[in-house]
Symmetry: C2
Subunit: 405 residues, 2 copies
């Protein structure tokens, strides 16, 4: 008999990291790989963060309170208030990354067999956290043709069962790059209120919006208080992924109480990152706005270059720094492997995340890839150029006219 | 209907932190509190750790690999090899504290309703992690009169059911201060092998031993390979609790694979702490041995002072920096509250962790407290002196002769 639990046997490997062995072999053959596959930005962390995320000799690197250092929570509350969110320190639980925030929320809301509805394609770790909590993720299909916009309330309503405990959204969306409209969010929130379930809104890319819409939170919508929980993180906002700092925000005090009891068991989120976070939150300077300008330029470059490629369909990238893109290929998994194992141009290739890893519905995403535009302009242009050259050479190329959309 | 899961409703608050509101009020009244209640040592973190746990301006504080930075795992493997543990990098998963290591192990081994046997009294968060994994902790009573030594194999055997998935030990023990003998460990390991279950050995206090026995790991026992998993942490060994770095070690590759899949979903353990860890593991210098000397002296001071107190029964503290101690009181919970709310001597009082929080069996630990000897000699002597003065004044004092032991 296996020593492993059913939960462990079911636990998925990260589809985004699955190609890493091929990438390692390609690098060993001397190839340069342009990484458009992972969400690790290249933007230097603000110096104020790095300078304060340290202790001088003689100090004790001690636990912080389980809920986070008070000055850090206070600085977070001030930032959220500036976005129109009615949040005080007591409504914030500091977590070890947005990842732990998601895990704690799903564990606090779901028992084994409970369901969480999420638009598909979705961030694959949602499925991993749901599995750890014993819950089932119920995917609600969205369409690349209309930019993966949020399905109408009726579609959510049709997916609700007696086991539904929450709707989980990522806004702006990883992996699609969609930004949900205020009206669409209000529709889902209304539905959650009617059914007495929670809206979990993962807003770790909140600042990464490139159009007219300003960064906003679902928690600032009228009536959101009792039915909304926000997942947030420092990772992307301050290019501090390795700090492992996130938080749960909710006005629903029993949810903060329950997740705080989970948090007490793991003692403390990382202390050094919180010190850095206090530094940048108290005086963010122009860091965020100049980073967003940089990503807006990259977004423009990406769209411009992708549109040159015959047979490629890319919806408008509206937020985050990802874009699900349709390619004229038989299988994006085969194509992404082939890029690493069989293709090169002038000693270079490009790495992408295959679409099916972002879907639960079998057969979906076969001709899609997720592009993370985390490179500066020049390497980004070259990476998309490589993609175009590869698409011409790929033996499994299919002509888009032959497909039904 | 509550929005919370049964898991959330059952999640316990930390019994160790439950008295904090009373402590805050006492501090607000101007009292000095000697903290013997929590395991936060006062030893400065090694300067080499703090100096390397930082990045210079211009750097990106990036994710590490999900399994941990390679040089960090390599340095860990070297340290474990020096203890006679047959461990390579591939057998080590770096986690966010020993806490995450425990949670991942229990999740990988247990489904809802499965059982884990652990000697009682035990570290309360074991119960919290078991609850998060849906598992049941089955306590096996140990006795203060014989220094909380490990029960005989027959007692473990009698507790095994078809749902038993593991035995969980903490060695040296938090909260009792017991150090388990090699023979006792071999007995439990043999039993685990016979029943095809795992021995989870939490060794975060491995270095904190004060007698003849050298620091050792259950994984160095003959035949441990296939049935043993070790939980470890930097927190205590390098006085770096706030770094949040632990690890899972096992030669059972499917367990490392499964916990790695959990680890991929949370992306990365904290990066800065790993950099500090590389610094101290590669060149630990005399830090650990001088810290252990300091704790040995404190242990001696604690034993000497406790033995002066009439009616107090303290077994010999052998390891870690805790000691479960029997007091002549009606209720250690009432007594610990009373110390904060009604007692003071020259503007000072002492804070202890009440015994019942370390037991699951109802009624157990009512006359016990856990003492964490994390103070230097002088404040430690004064803290125990305060305990003696308080015991004389406490209205709920009972005479030990009237009790049956």
């Amino acid at each position: 008999m296996s020593i492993l639990s059913q939960r462990a046997l079911r636990a998925p490997a990260s589809p985004i990291r699955k190609l890493e062995p091929l990438a390692r072999q390609a690098a060993e053959r001397g190839l340069t790989i342009f990484h458009l596959n992972i969400g690790q930005p290249d933007i230097p962390t603000p110096p104020a963060f790095l300078q304060q995320a340290r202790l001088e000799p003689g100090a004790v690197l001690a636990y912080s309170p389980s809920v986070g250092l008070y000055p850090y929570r206070k600085a977070l509350a001030k930032y959220y208030a500036s976005l129109g969110m009615p949040v005080e320190e007591k409504d914030i639980l500091v977590t070890t990354g947005g990842s732990e925030a998601l895990l704690f929320c799903l564990m606090a809301l779901c028992d084994a067999g409970d369901e969480v509805i999420t638009p598909e394609p979705y961030y694959p770790n949602y499925g991993a956290f749901a599995n750890m909590a014993g819950a089932t993720l119920v995917p609600l299909p969205t369409r690349i043709e209309d930019g993966f916009r949020l399905p109408p309330s009726e579609a959510f309503a049709a997916a609700i069962t007696p086991r539904t405990r929450a709707v989980l959204l990522c806004n702006p969306s990883n992996p699609t790059g969609a930004l949900y409209s205020r009206e669409a969010l209000e529709g889902v929130l209304k539905l959650c209120r009617e059914h007495g379930i929670m809206l979990i809104c993962d807003e770790v890319y909140r600042d990464f919006v490139y159009g007219e819409q300003r960064p906003m939170s679902a928690l600032s919508l009228p009536g959101a208080g009792e039915h909304c929980v926000i997942i947030d993180s420092l990772s992307k906002r301050f290019s501090a992924c390795g700090a492992r700092l996130g938080c749960i925000i909710s006005l629903r005090s029993e949810l903060i109480d329950a997740t705080t009891r989970f948090a007490m068991s793991r003692l403390s989120p990382p202390t050094l990152g919180q010190l850095g976070g206090i530094g940048v939150l108290e005086d963010p300077g122009p860091f965020v706005s100049s980073m967003i300008s940089e990503f807006r330029s990259r977004r423009d470059v990406l769209m411009e270059e992708l549109r040159r490629l015959p047979g490629v369909f890319a919806p408008e990238a509206q937020g985050a720094f990802y874009l699900m893109t349709r390619l004229p290929v038989d299988s994006s998994e085969r194509f992404c492997s082939w890029l690493l194992s069989d293709f090169s141009h002038e000693g270079q290739t490009v790495m992408l995340a295959p679409g099916p890893g972002f879907y639960r519905t079998p057969g979906s995403g076969q001709d899609e890839v997720r592009i993370a535009y985390v490179l500066a302009e020049k390497p980004l242009r070259r990476a998309v150029e490589l993609l175009g050259i590869a698409l011409k050479a790929y033996p499994g190329r299919v002509e888009p006219v032959s497909r039904s959309f």
